[in-house]
């Protein structure tokens, strides 16, 4: 059996992959809710890097930073969803491409 150990770069790769999928989601989907979820995915992947690197370097700050990200994400979600609901009330649609009133 090969002595295989999980190193930090494994976590980094996983996080990079998740982040890229999140980016793809934002670019590809039209539904505002799914776009929003993709953003959450990106935040999650960043959290993973925080915790992994924190554990790697023996710094508890990694965990603290992850907690802060979670808190901020929670605040962001409440406001974001409230905005989506408010928009939906006026437009009856959650299609991000229809909301182009700010076009130059």
């Amino acid at each position: 059996m090969i002595a295989l150990a999980v190193t930090t770069s494994w976590y980094m790769m996983l996080a990079a992959a998740l982040f890229s999928i999140g980016v793809a989601g934002v670019l590809m989907r039209r539904n505002a809710l799914v776009m929003f979820m993709s953003i959450e995915l990106m935040l999650n992947s960043v959290n993973l890097t925080f915790v992994a690197v924190g554990s790697d370097l023996g710094l508890i700050e990694g965990h603290v930073a992850a907690l802060f990200v979670i808190v901020v994400a929670a605040a962001e979600v409440t406001v974001g969803l409230a905005i989506i609901v408010a928009v939906f009330r006026k437009r009856a649609s959650a299609d991000a491409d229809q909301l182009a009133e700010l076009r130059g």
Partner: protein
């Protein structure tokens, strides 16, 4: 070795969840995909000795954030006609190029020595228990912590304001 197995299983679940979130036509399935990703990340946090972060991840993300998403999806109905956008020319190809570019770029950066210098986990003393994290949180980061409290309060107020003003607009339209 068990660590490798756990990592492989849950990394796979996370990736599958993420991909299904992006690709599912029905937002409820998207939410389920994201949920499974978040769960597997929580498991990975436990592996990384970040117990508190794992618990908070489940409570906040799974318990609050995703429930809220689900709630909103149910509230505004599922728009099944929603498909992948075609408004920008060659959007899909562009998206894949950008996403792969992103992955490549991050992978490149992650391979740099300053991230993975030690290779294996360094400090065996470190343990992400409630006590350890809160010592740091309420010691060094008190001000930051308090400002997140402010942030949450503002978010709550903003959400309520949005809900109320939205209702007003609706009423005006009804009057007209």
């Amino acid at each position: 070795m068990s660590e490798v197995i756990v990592f492989v299983i849950f990394a796979a679940v996370a990736l599958v969840g993420a991909i299904s979130m992006v690709s599912a036509r029905n937002p409820v399935y998207s939410a389920m995909g994201l949920l499974s990703t978040m769960f597997s990340l929580a498991v990975l946090y436990v592996v990384l000795d970040a117990h508190l972060v794992a618990a908070v991840q489940v409570i906040i993300y799974a318990g609050a954030v995703m429930t809220l998403f689900l709630f909103v999806i149910m509230l505004i109905g599922v728009d099944k006609a929603d498909a992948y956008g075609r408004q920008v020319p060659a959007q899909r190809i562009m998206t894949f190029v950008v996403a792969i570019g992103f992955f490549a770029a991050i992978a490149l950066a992650a391979r740099s020595a300053w991230i993975t210098g030690s290779g294996a986990f360094g400090d065996p003393e470190m343990n992400g228990t409630i006590e350890a994290v809160s010592d740091e949180l309420f010691g060094t980061w008190t001000i930051v912590f308090l400002s997140t409290v402010m942030l949450l309060t503002i978010a709550a107020v903003g959400t309520i304001a949005l809900a109320y003003f939205g209702a007003e607009v609706e009423d005006e339209e009804a009057l007209l």
